[in-house]
């Protein structure tokens, strides 16, 4: 059984998918960080509809 050499197109496609994956992971991390920063802010207030529900 022999393995065919990977085509240049597949390498390029893999690089693009890997890059996009990293960008999306970074975006998720940034939105998470933003959420933490916003809710930790002194000026942050829960919306009136959410207050006292628990």
């Amino acid at each position: 059984m022999s393995f065919r050499a990977q085509h240049e197109l597949h390498r390029r496609r893999f690089g693009r998918n890997l890059g996009l994956g990293l960008v999306l992971a970074g975006f998720v991390a940034l939105v998470f960080g933003l959420t933490i920063a916003k809710v930790s802010d002194d000026d942050f207030n829960m919306p009136a509809t959410e207050q006292g529900t628990n």
Partner: protein, 315 residues
């Protein structure tokens, strides 16, 4: 058939783009200027911003600027293919199709504006949206191919990032933000006209009505001097406002003296003199202009840092 059209026909075949090709659509070199000036605007503002919010704001401003760059390349792929400086961009080489570039640019434009709004405030997002609209619709699609003042108009789009950074921090636009805008706005024409003087063939062949083509090279030299004088007055005057101080004043005095020296030399020269030394002065002025903007915004940043330490401005 011209050489340029032959070149376009032979290379514009759709292929499968790599990650780097899409990244190149964002004009990474222009993006560095956007990131730096927006960061200075954000940090020079008299309001402390949470580091994560600040990071997000700069990132989304950069993405918005990149989106404008991608939409610019989408519209200008025909003239990009004709100019030596731009013919290796992703669309003229066929790595990315025009439709892909348009979809990529529009998606990033909308996403960056919405995310900047969520991360900071509506004003900052509105100015970012206006900047993208101004650069793509007013400048690229509307006026660039019609008026020799294209550089002046395009400069306005590049001047907005520090104002967006300031608005992201403060939620408002003040005189300091307008001054930072004006600094880049007045700097852009002499910077690009110096380039146009020694990159003469490129703009001629693309049919872009650069001042050098429509009004001649003598008029361009006069324009460079006039804009540099106005820029110097503005840059030095800013030293006595809220963003200025002794460090900024010293920086502005040195760099404006050097820039004025070069602008005067450019004005005194004619084409024969410039060709004789291969546009030495014009090239020197162009290189200096890059340092000029970097140093001015670094000085604004230094003044902000000094203010943070209680050593601010004029005491």
């Amino acid at each position: 058939m011209s050489d340029a059209s032959l070149n376009t026909a032979s290379t514009a075949q759709p292929g499968e783009a790599g990650f780097g090709d899409f990244f190149a659509l964002l004009k990474p070199r222009v993006m560095t200027l956007v990131v730096f000036t927006a960061l200075v605007g954000l940090l020079a503002a008299p309001v402390a911003v949470h580091p994560v919010v600040g990071l997000a704001a700069i990132l989304f401003i950069a993405v918005g600027g990149g989106a404008a760059g991608a939409l610019n390349m989408w519209w200008e792929s025909d003239i990009d293919a004709m100019m030596k400086r731009t013919r290796n961009r992703p669309i003229p080489t066929g790595k990315v199709s025009r439709d892909e570039a348009f979809a990529f640019g529009m998606t990033l434009a909308v996403m960056s504006v919405v995310m900047l709004w969520l991360a900071t405030n509506l004003l900052a997002a509105a100015i970012l949206a206006f900047t993208i609209f101004f650069y793509v619709v007013i400048y690229t699609i509307g006026l660039k191919r019609w008026t020799p003042q294209n550089i002046v108009i395009g400069g306005a789009a590049g001047a907005f990032p520090p104002m967006i950074g300031w608005a992201a921090a403060t939620g408002s636009v003040s005189i300091e933000a307008v001054l930072m805008f004006a600094l880049i706005f007045m700097w852009t024409p002499p910077h690009f006209w110096a380039l146009a003087l020694f990159m003469r063939g490129d703009y001629d062949s693309a049919g872009v009505p650069m001042l050098t083509v429509t009004h001649g090279r003598r008029a361009t030299r006069v324009h460079i001097l006039v804009y540099t004088v106005l820029l110097a007055a503005l840059a030095i005057g800013a030293a006595f406002t809220g963003i200025g101080g002794p460090v900024y004043l010293a920086t502005a005095l040195v760099l404006n003296a050097l820039f004025l020296r070069d602008a005067l030399a450019i004005w005194r020269r004619d084409e024969a003199m410039a060709e004789a030394d291969n546009y030495r002065i014009e090239k020197r002025a162009f290189r200096l202009s890059l340092w000029y903007l970097f140093a001015h915004f670094s000085a604004i940043l230094a003044e902000a840092a000094l203010r943070g330490l209680g050593l601010g401005a004029w005491g």
